[in-house]
Amino acid sequence: MKIMSVFRDIRRRDPVALGWAVVLLVVLLAIAIGPLFAQDPAHIDPLVRLQGPSGAHWLGTDEYGRDILGRVLSAGGVSLGLGAVVTGVSVVAGTLIGMYSGFYVRADGVVMRLMDALLAFPPLVLAIALVAFLGSGATSEVAALAIVYTPFLARTIRGTTLALRGRGYITAARCAGLTGTKILWRHVLPNAAPTLLVQASFIYAFALLSDAALSFLGLGVAAPTPTWGNMVDEARPYLMQEPGFIIFPGLAVVIVVMALNYIGDGIRNLVDPRSRAVLDLERLRRRTPVPTDAKEPVRA
């Protein structure tokens, strides 16, 4: 019954994050099973082009008369999948680089200089430049975004590893004759896992925004495969005729990224004692009147 008590704890501490987790779950479900019921996202029907929401097309139609709901859902699969791959690759690479360079001082200087150099580029600018040289398309987009986000994770995990390295149980493990790799995987990684989870949810959110921006600029996945970003780009010439065409794919990005941000904050509030203390204090201050409302202090 431990899971239930953890769940109760989350519900009591952070109902907002839980609410957004539910929203995200609904969106994922819609994207997973929606296409079975929604209309074919590739079906062209020029007779009904650029129409507003109606009974036949819940979110309206685009410039070829394709169903926008169907396209937003199938774009969701593409965008979320791509973001998930980027997040997965950066989490694995960032964790390996961060753990080993935090633990082995000799490798640290060189590796972290390289990470710093990558961090010296504004993220989206580096991604744009990399895609420009790698050529546009899903594979180079994933590669570019993974290169952009890996250093962020490597830095964080290196910090966590450095902090853990001095702990007594690590020294004990070393005295017991464990090799560096074993210590890292058995003792450092489990303790870095909460940080990793928080970072992963933010990286996922950033990756989705960057993916949307890249495909909006025509540097990501290209039409006719819909993504949330390239749908907005396609809708650009028609913003005077049918605003819904632009609104809905963007709204999908907003909802998912907001959910990921809230979930990331929620996990952080749950695992980080410092932000937990801050959160408790804020809650307390909401319930009890602040000194401003009190009368002037009585002076002797």
């Binding site: 600029l217 605003p243 963007g250 201050r285 000194p291």
Partner: protein, 314 residues
């Protein structure tokens, strides 16, 4: 203090050399001849050979790197293929609008964020405070290109009160420049101000746990004085770092906003040079943006050392 500065400048130089090296090898180690890519499908073999030689691509990679590094140190990044001018000159002539957008956005975001965060710390039970988190998360989550288009629909197309594109230099026509900058700046401020409010609120809440506030209250100071004089200066220090680091996100946003609102800055130039396969220019713009980003963060860090004595002791 000078030792700290020297160390930071040394680190910066190392980082910049690495940054340039990374860019060089990304451009030169990729499969395929850039000359072919630049000339397109219909180029003849002679044309390709000529451009390959002109770009120095027929030399060994190490020799090319040596030449590149030697030129880069003197500020020479080659010639732009599209403009037929030195890259450095093209970049400098487009830097104005980008710098203007960055500075104005940062200043307005700070002016909005600091009072909001301070107010929400002083009045934890007000409705504004409760609205602040959802609004700031929305500001961070909203894709800037989408927000820009939605604002264009509302203010440019439906209400017809603001121009939807174009750039007027503030030197020649200040009112015209302001009118043209309103929409781009709103888009950029949405993300920046949201980030600043969140950071500042978190650091204010963390400061609230500190005991010096209790001391101040115990001495009979009013809550307003406690927050404005004691708490805010301390809580502002972490915000300073975020102003520097978030410049990366801001510059990315500026690239998009310049593209949508047709502002002739480095962002538009970057996308234009990518489309015309002007690789020396792409390399130059990326390096220039990275350089300004790193230098500004160095200045922020030095300011940090000057303001916060705790850092100096370390």
């Amino acid at each position: 203090m000078p030792a700290v500065i020297l160390r930071r400048v040394r680190d910066l130089v190392i980082t910049l050399v690495l940054v340039g090296t990374i860019m060089f090898f990304v451009v030169h180690m990729l499969p395929g001849n850039p000359a072919v890519a630049m000339l397109g499908t219909f180029a003849t073999k002679a044309q390709i050979a000529q451009l390959t030689h002109a770009l120095g691509l027929d030399q060994s990679l190490i020799a090319q790197y040596g030449t590149w590094l030697k030129n880069a140190v003197t500020g020479d990044f080659g010639d732009s293929i599209g403009f037929q001018e030195p890259v450095t000159r093209v970049v400098l002539s487009h830097a104005g609008p980008t710098a203007l957008l960055a500075v104005v956005t940062t200043v307005i975001s700070l002016v909005i964020a600091i009072p909001l965060a301070a107010y929400s710390a002083a009045r934890p039970r007000s409705w504004w405070t409760r609205l602040l988190t959802p609004v700031s998360v929305f500001g961070i989550a909203v894709p800037n290109f989408w927000l820009a288009l939605v604002l264009i629909i509302v203010f440019g197309v439906t209400l017809r009160v603001l121009p939807i594109a174009g750039y007027v230099s503030p030197v020649t026509d200040l009112p015209g420049a302001v009118v043209h900058l309103i929409l781009p700046i709103i888009v950029l401020v949405a993300g920046q101000a949201a980030l600043f409010v969140r950071t500042l609120r978190e650091s204010i809440l963390a400061e609230l746990l500190q005991l010096y506030l209790r001391t101040a209250r115990a001495k009979g100071a009013r809550e307003r004085v406690v927050i404005l004089r004691q708490l805010l200066p301390n809580a502002l220090i972490p915000l300073m770092t975020v102003v520097g680091t978030s410049l990366g996100t801001l510059l990315g946003g500026i690239v998009i906003v310049e593209n949508i609102f047709v502002i002739p800055g480095l962002g538009s130039l970057l996308l234009q040079s990518i489309n015309s396969r002007d690789y020396p220019l792409v390399e130059g713009i990326t390096l220039a943006i990275a350089l300004s980003y790193v230098v500004i963060n160095l200045l922020v860090d030095l300011l940090y050392v000057a303001i916060d004595p705790r850092v100096r002791i370390r």
